[in-house]
Amino acid sequence: MAETIDVSFWEKVCDNDFLLLAFHVGVSTLSYFVWGLIDILSIPTLG
């Protein structure tokens, strides 16, 4: 039976497992790890 209903964009997003995975890993890696790494590595040395 072919899908003839127009499925909304967000419904398609929710059905795409790997898109959801890429989104979460991407956002979290950038905001937590990359930003955190930059913060820690830019701690100055005591003069």
């Binding site: 899908e3 209903i5 127009d6 499925v7 040395t45 005591l46």
Partner: protein
């Protein structure tokens, strides 16, 4: 059902009025709670330190010993129990002289060094670092807590607001003597 497949185009089903109202409450709560974070950071009187430096344990030890040598006023004699024996030890009490703003607290398994004698209402930049494991700075009974790492100097700008004797306990596990690790801060 949560075990059964939803009908196709479930996204099109509109939110009921109760759901819409609740969502508005949630979003409003989120915005208010979030705005309080930078607001308090900018206007509040007590915030965690954002000032830190990389420093080798050797260098920090040198800075601490210099600070003690220049500002020590007396020794305090304390008794440390090791099993059934009791050993007497001397810990320097340091009173930062006029104009001395940078003061040093060295954490090492299992002691805080030196004992600080501070003045009420005076602002100090307290430098904290560890010679070995991670330690906790926990000022009691005020219940003010920071994390002390080796290789890093945590600088907390503090102004004592009451006089008395206060204790610094370690609240980060640092091997077997962890629960014997305690220091003192006196405020005159």
């Amino acid at each position: 059902m949560s075990v059964f497949i939803p009908e196709r185009n479930w996204w099109a089903q509109p939110l009921g009025k109760d759901e819409k109202l609740w969502l508005k409450v949630c979003v409003l709560t989120a915005i208010i709670l979030f705005l309080m974070m930078p607001l308090y950071n900018l206007t509040g009187h007590q915030n965690p330190s954002h000032e830190g430096y990389k420093v080798s344990p050797e260098r920090f030890n040198q800075l601490t010993e210099d600070f003690v040598a220049k500002n020590k006023v007396r020794d305090e004699v304390v008794k440390q129990r090791f099993g059934t024996t009791e050993v007497e030890m001397k810990i320097p009490v340091v009173h930062p002289g006029p104009g001395v703003k940078d003061i040093y607290l060295r954490a090492r398994a299992w002691e805080f060094y030196p004992i600080l004698e501070l003045e009420e209402g005076r602002e100090y930049r307290v430098h904290m670092s560890s010679m070995d494991y991670q330690h906790g700075f926990s000022l009691q009974p005020q219940n003010i807590n920071f994390q002390i790492l080796s290789g890093y100097d945590l600088v907390v700008t503090m102004t004592p607001r009451e006089t008395g004797e206060f204790y610094v306990i370690c609240n980060e596990y640092c091997a077997l003597g962890h629960h014997t690790m305690i220091g003192k801060i006196i405020v005159k």
